[in-house]
Structure formats: structure tokens, C-alpha cells
Symmetry: C2
Subunit: 282 residues, 2 copies
């Protein structure tokens, strides 16, 4: 199986690693706009060869794993160049605009719109790890618009690398993912900023930070190059979640100001309910 991967960072690299493990006949070709990343990917060994865009006609599977703004430029070019039986899938964190963009492309049926919900706060080829997708959810949008045989090929890949599948329409995907993923990145970045701004001249203070702070601020290590386009793409949904988050913080602050600590207790107690919900993620 000839797999062509565009974008050799955390996601493209980890997919390559897992696919090489899961398909013994897989030969992985890699492309990245940064030649340094191609070199690193070859050295690490998760790609077997470099390729150029004009080689895409040879591909059996093409994976587009680049920031969501770049995707919109690159995906139509990919579809223009592939053969009739090639499966193309992406891994972007927003789906509505991309699906609209290719809705009328003659090769629309070769494309499977997917969002594997997996990642770490690290980026680049060195961040690629085996098993990243094991037991994680892959959201597939507009599955009915993909040729049935290519759906099957995609599902076989996701099954072998350990993913469970959920189907969702792109509008619902973008709305919900704003709550359970995009908002937590902003809350984490702003927490990091608040603490750094305040404590910048007191580095020793971070000795006081425990694992709780570390966990809450972990996502503030994430790549701005990846996340800025996501925030831009999903702007309206994210602004709605941010508005609600800020309102909840204001309300909590008011309760504290007014010494309504019984209400503070209740609010936290009700939110403890997240324990039960998160069990589903484990």
C-alpha cells in the first residue's frame, strides 16, 4: 500500500508510524513544506521516501495532516492530481469550511473528511509517537459523500490503528468541538499568560506550582501555527463558548465577592459530575 503523507508533524508522523506497524506492505512517502522536516522524518524512519506534489498520481492513500488554513489550499490541489481509486483523508480540527470547499470537486467521492481526536502538546516530526490513536475517537463527517469502497479502505486503516468511529455532520462537529477542545486550549493559554505576566520576575515562584497547575496549563505549550488557523476557522463557535466561559467565571467571582460560599460549594459540587462523564474518555 503506497501511502503519501502531506505534513510530517505530530499527526502525520504518528499516523505514518502506526500505519507502518499495522500494514506490513505499507510504503510511506512524505512531503512537508519545510525540507528540514522531510530530512528528519527520513532519519527517524517513519517515511521511506520523499515525494513532490506531481508524484501524487501514484498514491493509493493520501493523508493531509497540515494546519487547517493550509488544508484549504492544498486539498483541492491534491484532489486534482490523484487517480480514480485514491483515498484522501485529512485530520483537521474544523470540518465545515473544508467540506463546503470541496463539495463540488469532481473527486469529492475520493475524499473522507476525518478528525482523529488525538494529540499531545508537542509538534514537529520528533513529536510523532507510536500508538497515539489507540482507543481514541475519529469523527467522520459526510461519510455518505465518499465512495463506498474508499470508506471501507479508510475504516480498515482506522480500525487497525485502534480508533473508534463516530459519524457527525460538519456543522455539529465544529460546534461541539469548540466546547470540548478549542475552548480548553484558550482557557489553558490564558491561564499560562495570567501567571507568567504576574510572576515573570519571580521565577522561583514556579517551584510552588504542583501537578495540578501543570495539568491545567499543559495545552499552553501547543503550537500557535496549528491553533491560530483553527481559532480563525471556527471563530463564531469559539466566541460563543468563550462568552459563556467568561460569564461563568464572572458569576463565580461575584459569588466570592458577596461571600456566597454555599453557592460556591454547590457550583463545584455540581461540576464534580464531570467525573462520570470523563469515565467515557478513559
Amino acid at each position: 500500500m503506497k501511502v503519501y503523507v502531506i505534513g510530517l508533524g505530530l499527526i502525520g508522523g504518528s499516523l505514518s508510524k502506526d500505519i507502518k506497524d499495522a500494514f506490513k506492505d505499507a510504503v510511506v512517502y512524505g512531503f512537508d513544506k519545510n525540507p528540514e522536516n522531510v530530512k528528519k522524518a527520513l532519519e527517524i524512519g517513519f517515511i521511506d521516501h520523499a515525494f513532490e506534489m506531481q508524484d501524487l498520481s501514484q498514491a493509493e492513500v493520501v493523508i493531509v495532516a497540515i494546519p487547517v488554513d493550509a488544508q484549504q489550499k492544498v486539498l483541492p490541489q491534491v484532489l486534482d492530481r490523484i487517480g480514480d481509486d485514491t483515498l484522501v483523508f485529512d485530520a483537521g480540527s474544523t470540518k465545515e469550511k473544508l467540506c463546503k470547499l470541496v463539495a463540488n470537486h469532481p473527486k469529492r467521492r475520493n475524499f473522507l473528511a476525518t478528525h482523529p481526536i488525538a494529540g499531545t502538546e508537542f509538534s514537529g516530526p520528533e513529536a510523532a509517537i507510536n500508538g497515539l490513536f489507540q482507543n481514541k475517537t475519529n469523527i467522520i463527517c459526510e461519510v455518505e459523500k465518499t465512495a463506498f469502497k474508499l470508506q471501507e479502505k479508510g475504516l480498515e486503516i482506522f480500525r487497525r490503528i485502534g480508533m473508534r468511529i463516530r459519524y457527525m455532520d460538519p456543522v455539529a462537529h465544529d460546534k461541539h468541538i469548540a466546547y470540548v477542545s478549542h475552548l480548553s486550549h484558550i482557557s489553558s493559554f490564558m491561564l499560562g499568560k495570567t501567571v507568567i505576566d504576574k510572576e515573570q520576575n519571580e521565577r522561583d515562584i514556579f517551584d510552588m506550582a504542583g501537578s495540578g497547575f501543570e495539568s491545567t496549563v499543559r495545552l499552553a505549550k501547543s503550537s500557535p501555527a496549528m491553533w491560530t488557523p483553527i481559532f480563525k476557522e471556527n471563530k463564531e463557535n469559539i466566541l460563543e463558548t468563550l462568552q459563556e466561559y467568561i460569564q461563568n467565571l464572572e458569576h463565580f467571582k461575584n459569588l466570592m465577592e458577596e461571600d456566597q460560599f454555599e453557592e460556591v460549594f454547590k457550583t463545584m459540587e455540581n461540576t464534580n459530575h464531570i467525573k462520570t462523564i470523563l469515565k467515557g474518555i478513559q
Copy 2:
């Protein structure tokens, strides 16, 4: 060494476990206002015997590991009952009021005000684990007010369970800990609340939540019974951090609304700096 532990939850229990491992002659006595917890602690085996408050005169070391509001009631009673050579230390997340409260107690020199910065989001005797304090920081306040011999005894305990020590005055402690611990609990609780409020009728949505959301919302599982008194005690400092956090979120929201995505990028890039800072925690 006869160690009397008041409060048999996550912290009291974990301290008991580690002290039993580190001091082969340690006999641990336990007290909890909830008799069920005493029973569980005996079953788990991290205490050897139950005790009542009037037995405290027998203690060589007393550990007070209860919510910060209860501490203020209990600590003076403990100091009233101990012998001249007994070391008493606490584990509370706020220090200023407690230190003021006992400043003039005749047994002030028997008390060491400490804040071991360690924990998990779980609570109760079953949450107690071995090694919780390994490589963690213990903040000691007003060390000069503790008898030198008892300082030594305390330090020996903390050394053997693997803690590093930082000295700090109580006012500075409460101010800084609001940033690196208390604020992240509120940001996490409000993130959990925002998502639950929105998605309460769509449980399936949580299938979309990945490890990023889980990490950011982890602290929302924490005990309201422990955290409400902390928020009450450290109200002024926390309100200041909350104000700054909300301002940063508002600013980020404004940048998005005005399509200033270059600034969004820069803000995140500057905050990535948290990577370097957090290395100190590892």
C-alpha cells in the same frame, strides 16, 4: 515514633503511608471527624490505632491534615493538649490566617506551618497513595518561630519522604499560591461547568473530548469540601487573579472578534514560554 494524624483523607493518609515506610519504628494513630474514615484507614492499614483528642499528650508528632477552616478551630485545641516536645505541623493551602491565629499561643514554638504542594483530584482515605510527596516542594512559613529541635525533626520527616523545602513568609505564600494553584482550580471548574451546561443533553458529545480536555478539566473533580474554605480564606488574592484571568480572556476574545489573528498568534507564542518554566516542576 508516635505520630498522631488528624484528618485521614488524601493528604493525611498519604503522609501516614510514607512515614510508615520511611520510619520503621513509626506507630501511626489516626483521628477523623467521620468515624467511617477511621474504619477505612484501619482497614487499609495506614494507621495502626484510632485515637481521641484527649490522647494527644502522648504524641511525638501531630499532623493536622483537614480543610483550612477546620484547621483554625482544631489547631489551637491541639496546641493546648500536646507535651513540650511535640512537633505539630499542618498541610493547609493557605497560611496567613493560620499563622496569625496561633502567633501568641504559648505552644507556638511547637508548630511548624507547612504546605506540601502535592495532591491529586481525589479525596478520602482510599485516595491515599505511597510516594505522593516524592520530589515535591514543601513550603515552610515562619520557620524561625518554631523551636530549632522541632524544625530539625520536621525536616527529617520531609527529607525521608522525598520533599524539597522552600521557605516563604505567609503573606507571600498566599499571594503566589493563588496564581499557581487556586486560580487553576477555578479555571478548571468553570471549564467543566461551561461544557456540562451546554452539552448536558448530549452525553455522546463527550466521546469527542480528547486527552487535552481531560487534562484541562481534571481539577474540576476536586473536593468542594476542601476547596470552598480555601477560596474563602484566600479570597482577596484569588479575586485579584480571577480579575486578571478574565481580562486576559476578554482581550483574547476581542482579538478574535476583530480578526487580529497575528496578535492571537503572538499571544500564544509568548505563552509557550511556559514550557521552559514548567521544566522546573518536572
